[in-house]
Symmetry: C2
Subunit: 128 residues, 2 copies
């Protein structure tokens, strides 16, 4: 989580900085859901399904801070809030789509690997 706990005096490494942001379990999923039209808070909650309100809230706030999404509050009752991708956010979806395509193409290989996996023999570690 710290962008760099270890000897880092200059600006944070861009790669590390960005990976830390998107590599947090939910951001990618949220960005993915935001594709196309803007979404409301509860819509995202339902679409993603197994995210908690708190995490969705935090994730959106961070994405907003970092300029990936905008948050628009309509002063209605009950209140309506819409989240939409910014240009930066949209541009991010391009490389991310490559990743999603890779996932689709290689999911089978992963599942197969999981099945044929046998845990390593670390007998030199465990005195028996």
């Amino acid at each position: 989580m710290p962008l760099s706990k270890s000897l880092n005096f200059e600006q944070p490494c861009p790669i590390r900085d960005v990976l830390d942001r998107i590599g947090d379990q939910w951001s990618l999923l949220v960005l993915h859901s935001l594709q196309g039209e803007p979404r409301r808070f509860n819509e995202l909650l339902r679409e993603i399904g197994d995210i908690s309100k708190q995490m969705l809230s935090k994730t959106l706030k961070r994405l907003e801070q970092d300029g990936f999404v905008t948050r628009t509050l309509y002063a209605e009752v009950p209140p309506r809030v819409e989240y939409a991708l910014t240009e930066l956010g949209s541009s991010f979806l391009v490389p991310m789509q490559q990743l999603v395509d890779w996932a689709k193409a290689n999911h089978g290989g992963i599942v197969e690997a999981r099945q044929t996996y046998t845990p390593a023999d670390n007998s030199w570690q465990q005195p028996r």
Copy 2:
């Protein structure tokens, strides 16, 4: 973390499954470090810098399970263990590189967004 807690009877969604795997704070960094030559456990530990032994161990084990890396134990003393990318792992670096390139290109925009960000006014929420 669950691949799908909510109504999911069929096979897990490939996207979700893969994103869950790589979206875990360390996997991407580890794969990135593994680029080029194989690495030993402590090399990775030093290169990444702020990962704990336990998390590196867990991450590598999962990457191995999923067929992204191989683990080779040389029966020497002290023991030597080398981690290397499989073909699957290498192929994953292609889309990931796109992402890294995006990160480099857009890091400035993100930093800028962070600076100009002002927290939302949720006064309708908080009675004062």
